[in-house]
Symmetry: C2
């Protein structure tokens, strides 16, 4: 059954995914002569760079999520459908979704990336990933529940296991969540749980590489390491994890770590929709595209953002999977779609690296710009400014700013709520299956 979308004379552009790439593309085509269908499984756009603050009770999910329908209010040419994509059928120019089939003139795959466990099942089962607002909330609830359990237990070994947190992966996510957890341990938890001895609690960051923040300069990685050590985080570089049963993390050739909370931030892989030909899928589960983000052998199917893999002279291994690439590819593709309409020559994508940054905590951050790098308080201010300005929605900006100011002044995040789904919601979900 086809999805209920009005038929027009306009060419129909179907975009799968409303992350940085998909949302930007839809906005660029807003009020242009295309019919745009934006499909996502959620009715909101999520701002990934701040998931870790949701997980550590610093921000509410709503502050970093934005309803898609609000972005395209009163829009006449953008149609939003909340659905999962089941299959792409390129020979028929159709996709099959949980709402029915949708035909397209142009299909844009912007499904992004998901957690990569590199085939290690014990981590997939027992660790906690952080690649969606829902997962960040789940992590928050799990940590808080473990503290609550620790209060009621007398066995010191078990208390340690409940308090300890191990983070695997020393990229920006791993570094930022470790910093936030260390500040919670220092400023908030002893006040909330006067009954517990937080000297028993260890926060450990495990990274296989020789330095942190692999995407940035080595200087930045070293600085981040200093900051984390300063906050009491134990950083284990050149260590590989092997197995995790929910209680004990086994390290390669090393002693074990005891923890009930293992946060997995070790890598991502493309979130591949089904129906993409095998020969188009390359390493990291990404889709190989040409300089116009077009999929090889498909005139009218494109991939942009984290899922796309484009080899260029400057980036022979593909671009880094970051927001900037996604946004710039969306901009470029929007221009090219308009050019196609006017039968003009297409422009190849060229990435302009605007730099990268990571924050570790209060007054502590590292910034690498193309010709300048700095750290400390100024870097921390720049980090906040850039993130605040990148957030969708004036009210979200305002609310996040107030939260940050508040947390900064009071050394406290006050969102330590374990809000579970209602019994009825669980019951109704079961009924639907």
């Amino acid at each position: 059954m086809p999805v209920n979308i009005p038929e027009t004379a306009q060419k129909r552009v179907v975009i799968i995914g409303a992350g940085f790439a998909g949302l930007r593309l839809a906005r660029k085509l807003f009020k242009h002569n295309f019919q745009v269908v934006l499909i996502d499984r959620n009715n909101y756009h999520q701002f990934q760079p701040l998931f870790y603050q949701v997980a550590t009770s610093g921000l509410e999910p709503s502050s970093i999520s934005f309803p898609l329908r609000k972005v395209f209010q009163k829009s006449e040419n953008v149609f939003i459908r909340i659905a999962e994509v089941r299959r792409i059928m390129s020979e028929k120019k159709l996709i099959d979704t949980t709402l029915g089939t949708v035909w397209y003139d142009y299909l844009i795959i912007a499904t992004g990336a998901t957690t990569n466990f590199f085939g290690m099942e014990s981590f997939e089962t027992n660790s906690i990933p952080m690649k969606s607002v829902s997962e960040a909330l789940f992590l928050r609830n799990t940590l808080l529940e473990n503290f609550e359990k620790a209060v009621t237990i007398r066995d010191e070994e078990e208390v340690r296991r409940l308090l300890n947190i191990v983070v695997v992966g020393g990229g920006p996510t791993g570094v930022e969540v470790c910093g936030a957890l260390a500040e919670m341990k220092k400023f908030v938890l002893p006040k909330d749980y006067p009954e517990l001895d937080f000297n028993l609690m260890n926060i450990t960051l495990v990274e296989a590489n020789t330095h942190l923040l692999a995407g940035m300069t080595e200087v930045a990685g070293k600085k981040a390491l200093d900051y984390l050590a300063n906050l009491g985080v134990e950083v284990k570089l050149k260590h590989k994890v092997e197995k995790y049963d929910g209680n004990t993390v086994e390290l390669e050739d090393q002693e074990n770590l005891e923890t009930r909370s293992l946060i997995w931030a070790a890598g991502v892989k493309g979130q591949m929709p089904s129906g993409i030909k095998k020969e188009n899928v390359v390493r990291g589960n990404r889709i190989k595209v040409d300089a116009y983000n077009r999929i090889d052998g498909c005139e009218n199917i494109f991939a942009i953002g984290d899922i796309a893999y484009m080899e260029t002279k400057a980036y022979p291994q593909g671009h880094p999977q970051v927001a900037q690439v996604a946004l710039q590819q969306a901009n470029c593709l929007a221009e090219n779609l308009k050019k196609m309409q006017r039968k003009k020559d297409l422009v190849p994508f060229k990435y302009r690296d605007k730099g990268s940054m990571a924050t570790v905590g209060r007054n502590r951050a590292v910034v690498d710009l193309p010709h300048l790098r700095f750290a400390g308080f100024p870097a921390w201010l720049v980090w906040m400014f850039v993130h605040l300005m990148s957030i969708v929605g004036v009210k979200n900006r305002l609310v996040i700013f107030i939260n940050w100011l508040w947390n900064y002044m009071t050394y406290d995040q006050s969102l330590r709520l374990i809000i579970r789904p209602s019994a009825k919601s669980v019951e109704w979900q079961k009924r639907q299956k």
Copy 2:
């Protein structure tokens, strides 16, 4: 197994429930010569009067919830335990909880009230109650999901059923949620869903009584009726609902109403812990108490708030189940517990009615004070001020104020997010069972 609570020479006061009554009592005993154990199933206090704004996307759950541990930070005499109470064993001065057993010197039952379906199973199964933050969120998600479904459907009858909302119960909750929904229909939904025809949507309030807001003056009820009619809500007074299968509401001697969303706000009953003797339970599933909130025949067990039923000259049918009674009973009991310690005479509870109020929407509210009643814009301002001042936490106040101001100026609530629990959270919950 006993719960891990340190033994002291202080008398131990165990409070079940951290609603208005339980939380106030614990705060009044904070830093006094008692050991206080506050037990709740959630790690936060919920501000019930604003649940309807969570349900209608106006406020976030976190704005009206407050972490219990934050209230009692650094406290030496208040112990918080997140647990369900399984049974009261008064002969042993023990309660059994999901964390283990807790002994008490004084036990305070402040479990509040829950939804009363008056034995009508079809409503219990298919309608949506609104007696917790989680339920309010579930209601929000359900309404938004129904709008999303309506977009994809061509059958007009089914579209109507998805858009229509029926609210049963014309007390403050029913009136307030109807007002908020009517404003959403008027200001927000047509912008979010330009594809849908909201002339198809009916909001209906069904009330068995002859007027709305039974706890207030008849003038206030009439005014609320005017306001609702003005906003396009169809109010059916003197109508009783009989059955609801999830699609069709059957009314006694009347035509049916078609809706997929029935909000149940028709009544409450005491949330009775097990182990209370049958002879102590009276109508409305409440516990009969004397003038000191003591349960008959139990020297050291008290009930306060919505669960308590106290007959007095002024209130021969018991006090109304409202926040003011709960707070005043908690204050009185705190004084009496201190008097008991000093072996002084106890003071009987006396309720001082400070008035009641309800809001219907922008600039529309009704206020009944003991010697004064008014409506409209001044009532609406008073309503906002009183609720803002009653909220726990300065930051919550600030955030709610900004939200209200924002919504007032923009005619918009921007929290229309359907955030579902992560797959892992559902999986882990199953595993625990």
